[in-house]
């Protein structure tokens, strides 16, 4: 039964994306995991089908749909059995480009959105630095106004889509914060690939999410046109904070849906595999373990859907989103552990998808706000 959160149109979109994923994504994920990237044609194909612009305004070629359509995209992409493919696509659609629709000028939107929606301009988000993760106020990359440009100098790390991306949403300091307002003075810029002084210094080698490319970036006196300042100078942190709930919700959606796929894969394995004269699916100790995994995911799903419905209705939802992100990503990791365990030796082999999921899902208690930061946010709101 479809969840009441979704309309008949959402469910039709789900079938469409699922069918596309089964036919055109899943058969190739092993190759893309090895190559460490998604082929450009796949971005174009996703664009052609309208999946990269679900929520974007129709005047730029988007679909004008609601947030729950993006949840459907996240859920169905996460079932492709490569966390990296889903991650790359959702970084593009939900964890970077929405800042453009939210804070961009008409000229910026007209210039970049059509390409983003068509899958010709792949987006990356450049916030994290070698010395700055959760503590965004500590970022050291600087942007100095120089006539018609801002000159950016500094470095970024762990940038998804960063090696082969086209448009980077980069946070840099344009002014100093104060003792009481450390986060002031940060600004956001739209930085195009190929600008002088902007280089991909390293392609990073990761535990999982291997089909998504991850970069370390270096900026040296990189001249970014002043018209590429995104939003208000010095208000970058507040702008970023406004988009964080979407990013965290999407992280929870991806972890949860990937975990559901791992449970489904585990159930079919338990039916196929025989030991001591009967299928593993007949053994009570394993059946009960599956019951626990499914129950835990169902609990996580209720939290995620609840937070998603609040976010979709533009209600205050920081606590709910933080709880959903915390619980769903931790639960997904517990499920991944059991999915591998129930597969026995095969669960440790690369050819079984739960092995990949086990490595991929490890990221989700770290990226988009660690579990520790989520607890801190929740605690702050409970204990003042």
């Amino acid at each position: 039964m479809p969840h009441p959160l979704f309309t008949a149109e959402h469910e039709m979109l789900r079938r469409s994306i699922r069918s596309f994923v089964e036919k055109e994504i899943t058969p190739h994920v092993a190759a893309w995991e090895d190559e460490g990237r998604i082929p450009l044609e796949v971005w174009r194909r996703l664009g052609e089908l309208g999946f990269l612009g679900l929520e974007f305004p129709t005047e730029y070629g988007g679909g004008g749909a609601d947030f729950l359509a993006s949840v459907v995209l996240g859920e169905e992409m996460a079932r492709c059995r490569s966390g990296g493919v889903a991650f790359s696509v959702l970084v593009h659609t939900d964890m970077s480009s929405p800042w453009l629709t939210r804070f961009g000028t008409d000229a910026q939107k007209a210039k970049y959105l059509p390409g983003i929606i068509r899958g010709e301009t792949v987006c990356a988000l450049g916030i994290t630095e070698p010395g700055t993760g959760s503590d965004m106020a500590a970022l050291a990359t600087r942007a100095v106004r120089d006539g018609h440009v801002y000159r950016i100098t500094g470095g970024k790390i762990f940038i998804t889509n960063g090696v082969y991306g086209d448009l980077y949403f980069v946070a840099a300091r344009t002014g100093a914060g104060t003792a009481t307002r450390r986060h002031d003075g940060i600004s956001m810029f739209l930085v195009e690939r190929g600008l002088p002084g902007f280089t991909v210094s390293r392609k990073l080698d990761k535990m999982g999410m291997r089909a998504s490319d991850t970069a370390e970036l270096a900026f040296e006196d990189c001249p970014v046109p002043a018209e590429n300042l995104l939003g208000v100078e010095g208000r970058g942190f507040q702008q970023l904070a406004a988009g964080l709930q979407r990013e965290r919700l999407m992280a929870a959606v991806l972890a949860l849906s990937g975990a559901q796929q791992a449970v489904d894969d585990t159930v079919s394995y338990l039916h196929q595999r025989t030991a001591f004269g009967e299928p593993l699916a007949a053994r009570q100790v394993l059946r009960h373990r599956v019951a626990d995994m499914a129950t835990e995911l169902e609990a996580a799903r209720q939290l995620v859907y609840r937070a998603a419905s609040l976010y979709a209705a533009a209600e205050e939802c920081v606590t709910e989103v933080s709880m959903a992100k915390l619980f769903a990503t931790e639960a997904a990791n517990r499920v991944a552990y059991q999915a591998v365990q129930l597969h026995g030796g095969y669960g440790y082999m690369r050819e079984f998808p739960v092995e990949g999921f086990f490595r991929d899902v490890r990221l989700w208690t770290i990226a988009s706000g660690t579990s520790e930061v989520m607890r801190e946010i929740i605690a702050k709101r409970l204990l003042t």
Partner: protein, 259 residues
């Protein structure tokens, strides 16, 4: 050219089919329903014909319960212009001929230049409705279509059907019924735009009375469904090679009657 596509809503291919308590139908709880895949080829071909000719109309039609509307909605999302739902409890036990007669009545009202169907529905695999529909209408019919080209004035369709080892090519005068085989095309995925647009398209409900049909008792009805017997366990034949081979041959001949 107006093209009518007759489709059927069937359980998803991944469904684990269970026989219901009455012993003659399947358990429908929890089933995900889809447009039968061969019918999707038919819808796609109709859309391509319309696009190629630069004009025309694609009308999807189905006979089925209320839930079958969802299948029509999928056809509309793919790009069909409107849909007709033969939705009447009188047809609850319709066999293929009753279905074909109802569809023929729709065809007579709609007057399409071509009817496309899938070569069979993937649930009961009868593969009969298209042929019976053509028979009732007195139209030519070709099954297992892999290619088709309609001439410029819309009088004839050159249709290639799959046969063992090759293609059989016919010039079929229109109107006609063509039944799509896998390979005819690659059906498109409904886009968000198509899905949102489908909401505004018409699905007309018609009853037996609207088609001038009475409630004929079906000539064919299912008396019983049986599950396949579980596969018997394998057997390992011990002993030295010469004896074991002899025993294997004997067993294949006498027990399994395979040779």
């Amino acid at each position: 050219m107006k093209i009518l596509v007759a489709i059927k809503q069937v359980p998803d291919t991944a469904t684990q089919v269970k026989i219901a308590g009455d012993g003659r139908s399947i358990e429908t709880a929890g089933i995900t329903w889809i447009v039968s895949p061969y019918d999707e080829f038919a819808v796609e071909e109709a859309l391509r014909i319309k696009e190629k000719r630069g004009q025309g109309e694609v009308v999807a039609v189905t006979l089925g319960p209320e839930r079958a509307k969802e299948a029509l909605r999928s056809c509309l999302a793919m790009g069909a212009d409107r849909a007709i739902h033969v939705n009447d409890p009188a047809f609850n036990d319709a066999d293929t001929l009753t279905t074909a007669r109802a569809l023929a009545a729709v065809v007579k009202q709609e007057q399409p230049g071509l009817v496309l169907v899938g070569r069979q529905a993937i649930d009961d695999d009868m593969g009969a409705v298209g042929g019976q529909l053509a028979e009732v209408l007195g139209w030519p019919c070709a099954y297992w279509i892999m290619e088709e080209t309609i001439d410029a004035d819309g009088q004839t369709v050159k249709a290639a059907r799959q046969v063992e080892g090759g293609l059989e090519v016919f010039d079929v005068p229109l109107p006609a019924v063509l039944a799509a085989q896998k390979g005819l095309n690659e059906p498109r995925y409904p886009t968000l735009k198509g899905i949102m647009g489908a909401k505004k398209k018409e699905i007309k409900d018609v009853k037996a009375g609207d088609l001038g049909l009475g409630a004929d008792a079906p000539q064919l009805s299912i008396t019983k469904l049986e599950a396949l017997p579980p596969r018997p366990p394998g057997r390992i034949i011990d002993g030295d090679i010469a004896t074991a081979v002899k025993e294997l041959v004997r067993s294949l001949r006498e027990d399994a009657k395979a040779i």
